[in-house]
C-alpha cells in the first residue's frame, strides 16, 4: 500500500505516457507505451505498468487527469485537460525559469508561452502537416533505412549541416535524395533535417522572453535536436528531466491540485 496516488495520462498520437505522483508530489512511477490502434489498451498498459513501478494498486488512485490527442479515451479520468495546459503546468514545476516551452511530438509541434505565474499567454501548433514534427524525422529515417536513434547519432557527427528547405515531408524526402546524389555527407544531410525542424519552430515563436524549455519524444531521443535548436534560437535550451513525460507529469500535478481543491470544496460544503 503506497497511500493516495495521483496520475497523469498523456495519450499522444504515437505514444501513451503515464506519470504517478504521491501526495507530496514526488514521482513514484512512470511508463510509456506505443499508442497503437486502440487507445484504451495503451492506456491500460501505461497505467498498469506505472502502478507496478510505483508499487501501488488501482484503488490507490485518488485522482486522474488525462491529456493529449486521445485525452477523451481514458475511462478512469476525473478531469480532461489539453496537452497545452499540462505542458505549461509541468514546465513551471521542472524549471520555474522556463517561459517558452517547445514540445516536439509525433503529430504536432507546440510552442507554449507562459507568464511568471505559469498562466498561459500564447500557444501555437504547427499547421496540420507532418513537417516540423517527430513524424517528419521518422518518415525520412525510414526512407534512409535507419532508426531515429541512428539518424541522431549520424547528425551529431556533422560539421557543415546542409539546408533542407521544403515545407512538405514528401518534398523534403526528395530534397534529401537530391543531396545524396549531389554527394553531400550523410551526417550533414541528417543534421539538415533537424535544422529544418528548428527553423520551423523559430517561425512559431512569438518573441523571446525568459528561458526556453524543450519537451517531447524527439527531444528525449535526439541530442541533435537540442543542439540545433540552441544554434537556431541563439541560446540555451533547458531540457525537461523526462521530456517525453512532460505532459503526463503536468497532468499528474493538476490531478494533485484538483484533488486538493475538491477536498477543500467538500470541507467547506454547507452542512445544514
Amino acid at each position: 500500500m503506497s497511500g493516495a496516488l495521483f496520475i497523469g495520462v498523456d495519450v499522444g498520437s504515437s505514444a501513451t505516457k503515464c506519470v504517478i505522483l504521491d501526495q507530496a508530489g514526488a514521482l513514484k512511477g512512470h511508463h510509456v507505451v506505443a499508442s497503437g490502434f486502440k487507445y484504451s489498451d495503451a492506456v491500460d498498459t501505461a497505467i498498469t505498468q506505472s502502478l507496478l513501478d510505483a508499487k501501488g494498486r488501482k484503488e490507490d488512485i485518488a485522482y486522474c487527469v488525462s491529456t493529449g490527442y486521445g485525452r477523451k479515451h481514458v475511462s478512469c479520468s476525473d478531469r480532461v485537460v489539453t496537452e497545452i495546459s499540462t505542458h505549461a503546468r509541468g514546465a513551471r514545476a521542472w524549471n520555474p525559469a522556463v517561459r517558452t516551452i517547445i514540445d516536439i511530438g509525433g503529430q504536432d509541434t507546440k510552442i507554449i508561452c507562459i507568464d511568471d505565474h505559469g498562466q498561459l499567454l500564447d500557444y501555437r501548433m504547427n499547421a496540420k502537416c507532418a513537417a516540423g514534427t517527430g513524424t517528419f524525422l521518422e518518415s525520412i529515417a525510414v526512407k534512409l533505412g535507419m532508426t531515429l536513434a541512428a539518424l541522431d547519432k549520424l547528425a551529431m557527427q556533422s560539421t557543415d549541416p546542409t539546408v533542407v528547405n521544403s515545407y512538405c515531408t514528401v518534398f523534403a524526402g526528395t530534397e534529401v535524395i537530391e543531396r545524396i546524389k549531389a554527394g553531400q555527407a550523410p551526417e550533414d544531410i541528417a543534421m539538415g533535417l533537424f535544422r529544418s525542424i528548428a527553423t520551423r519552430i523559430k517561425e512559431m515563436i512569438p518573441g523571446r522572453s525568459g528561458a526556453f524549455g524543450a519537451t517531447g519524444g524527439v527531444v528525449q531521443h535526439c541530442q541533435a535536436m537540442i543542439l540545433t535548436l540552441e544554434e537556431t534560437l541563439g541560446g540555451e535550451i533547458l531540457k525537461a528531466p523526462m521530456p517525453q513525460h512532460a505532459g503526463a507529469y503536468g497532468a499528474a500535478l493538476l490531478a494533485l491540485e484538483s484533488h486538493a481543491k475538491k477536498g477543500s470544496e467538500v470541507d467547506h460544503a454547507p452542512t445544514g
Partner: protein
C-alpha cells in the same frame, strides 16, 4: 463537461425556412420565364439598383456557403481546379464553379429546384475582394451574359467624400450600362424605396445583433449565421423587414426573460473572419458545451449598414458599400475590433485564418498579437477554411479551442 443545459430554439426559424423556399422557388420561376429577369450580385454589391430595375437578385456566395455547410464542397472543388482555378483560391468560387461543372447543387435537396437560376446579367463590387470578378466572369462566359462591376477604392482608413463621389460615379455608369443592356430606364423613386427598405432591414438586423450585449447573450454567432440570410438575399424587400421585426421581438423577449443562447454562459468571445461552414455544427456544439457564447462577430456585422435618411439613394449605396469592414485598412479594423470587444464585454478573441480567403482574414499582419497586447485578453488564431474542409483539422482545432477556454479559466495558475 456535460451538456445538461438545453438549447432554447429560436422560433423565427420556421418562418425563415418558408421565406427561403419562396425566395428560391421564385428565382427558379423567374429564370424560366422570358418576361422576368435574373441578376447575380455580390453580397455587398449594388443589389438595390438591380431590384429597382426589376431584376430578381441571386447571390452566388450563398451557394458557396451552402455547398460548404452541406459538406459537398470537396466533391466540387476538383472540377474547378481541373479547369485551372487554383485550389488555394477562394473556396466559395472553386466549389461554386466545380458544382456547376459537375451538375451539383444543394438547392435541389433543400428547395426542390434544379440549381442556381440562369442569369441575364451578373453584377459585382470588388469592395470585398477581386476574386468575385473572376468568379463572375466564369459564369458570364458560361451563360453568355454580360458581367458589369464596380471597383471602389479599397483598404481605406477614412472614407472621404471624394471616395464616395468616385463610387457614386461608378454606380451611375453601371446604371447606364444596365439600362442599355435591358432597354429599361431606372425609376429613381423606385430606387429610393428599395434603398429605404434595404436600410430598414439592415438596421433591424443590427439591433438584433446588438442585443447580444446583454449578459447572458440571447443570440450567438452561430445563430446569426442562420438568421442573416434575409439581410443578404432579400435586402430591399418588405419580407426582410417583417422577418427582422419578428426576430427582434423574440430576441427582446429573450433578454427580458434572461433566456440565454448558451445557458450557463461562462465566457463571451468574439469571432473574427469567415465561418467554417462544413464544421458549423461541431463548433457550435463545442462552444455550447464549454459554456462559451460567441457574442459578436465581424462576419454577421458585415450587413449592418448606416441608416438611410432620405436624400440621394446612390450616395447612400456608395457610402455604405465603401465603408464596410472588409474594405478598410488595418488601423480601422483593429480599432473596430477593440470597440466591439468593449461593447460586447468580450473575454477573448478568436481569429479564423481562412486559408482560401485572405481578404476576410485579419490575422495575417500581426493584428492578433497587437490586439492581445492592447486589449489584454487571450487571443486564439486557428487555421481553417470557409468551405474547403481539407484545410481544417478537427482534432487540432478542438484542442486549440479547449486550451483557449482553459486559458480563460486560468487553468494552469
Amino acid at each position: 463537461m456535460s451538456t445538461i443545459a438545453k438549447r432554447v430554439p429560436i422560433n423565427a426559424r420556421k418562418k425563415l425556412q418558408s421565406l427561403m423556399r419562396e425566395y428560391f422557388v421564385s428565382l427558379d420561376a423567374a429564370a424560366a420565364d422570358s418576361d422576368r429577369r435574373v441578376a447575380w450580385c455580390t453580397s455587398v454589391g449594388p443589389c438595390e439598383i438591380l431590384s429597382a430595375m426589376g431584376y430578381e437578385v441571386y447571390f452566388p456566395e450563398n451557394h458557396g456557403a451552402l455547398l460548404g455547410a452541406r459538406k459537398i464542397s470537396h466533391e466540387c472543388i476538383p472540377a474547378a481546379v481541373g479547369v485551372g482555378y487554383c485550389a488555394e483560391s477562394c473556396s466559395y468560387m472553386t466549389s461554386d464553379i466545380g458544382a456547376a461543372l459537375s451538375g451539383i447543387s444543394p438547392l435541389t435537396e433543400a428547395f426542390g429546384i434544379a440549381g442556381p437560376p440562369k442569369p441575364d446579367l451578373l453584377s459585382y463590387s470588388t469592395n470585398q475582394c477581386r476574386e468575385v470578378q473572376d468568379w463572375w466572369n466564369f459564369f458570364g462566359r458560361r451563360h453568355d451574359a454580360p458581367v458589369m462591376g464596380i471597383r471602389p477604392p479599397s483598404h481605406l482608413g477614412q472614407v472621404t467624400d471624394a471616395h464616395v463621389a468616385f463610387v457614386r460615379g461608378e454606380l451611375n455608369q453601371l446604371i447606364t450600362r444596365i439600362e442599355s443592356h435591358s432597354g429599361t430606364k431606372l425609376d429613381w423613386s423606385r430606387l429610393e424605396t428599395v434603398v429605404d427598405l434595404s436600410s430598414r432591414a439592415s438596421s433591424l438586423w443590427r439591433q438584433v445583433l446588438d442585443l447580444a450585449q446583454a449578459q447572458p447573450s440571447p443570440i450567438t454567432f452561430f445563430d446569426g449565421l442562420i438568421h442573416m440570410a434575409p439581410v443578404i438575399l432579400m435586402r430591399g424587400s418588405q419580407e426582410a423587414i417583417d422577418y427582422y421585426d419578428m426576430l427582434l421581438a423574440e430576441m427582446n423577449e429573450r433578454v427580458e426573460e434572461g433566456t440565454a443562447a448558451v445557458p450557463n454562459e461562462r465566457f463571451r468571445v468574439y469571432w473574427d473572419g469567415m465561418p467554417v461552414w462544413p464544421k458549423v455544427r461541431e463548433l457550435s456544439e463545442k462552444f455550447f458545451d464549454l459554456g462559451v457564447s460567441i457574442a459578436a462577430s465581424t462576419y454577421c456585422n458585415s450587413w449592418a449598414f448606416e441608416e438611410y435618411d432620405g436624400g440621394d439613394p446612390l450616395e447612400w449605396m456608395a457610402r455604405t458599400s465603401t465603408e464596410i469592414f472588409i474594405n478598410r485598412d488595418e488601423t480601422f479594423k483593429q480599432q473596430f475590433l477593440l470597440d466591439m470587444c468593449k461593447r460586447f464585454s468580450i473575454d477573448g478573441l478568436i481569429f479564423h485564418n481562412a486559408r482560401t480567403c485572405p481578404n476576410n482574414t485579419n490575422s495575417r499582419f500581426g493584428m492578433a498579437q497587437r490586439l492581445r497586447d492592447e486589449a489584454g485578453m487571450p487571443v486564439l488564431v486557428f487555421d481553417g477554411d470557409l468551405s474547403d474542409s481539407r484545410f481544417f483539422s478537427t482534432a487540432q482545432t478542438m484542442t486549440n479551442i479547449e486550451a483557449f477556454v482553459e486559458q480563460l479559466e486560468g487553468c494552469c495558475q
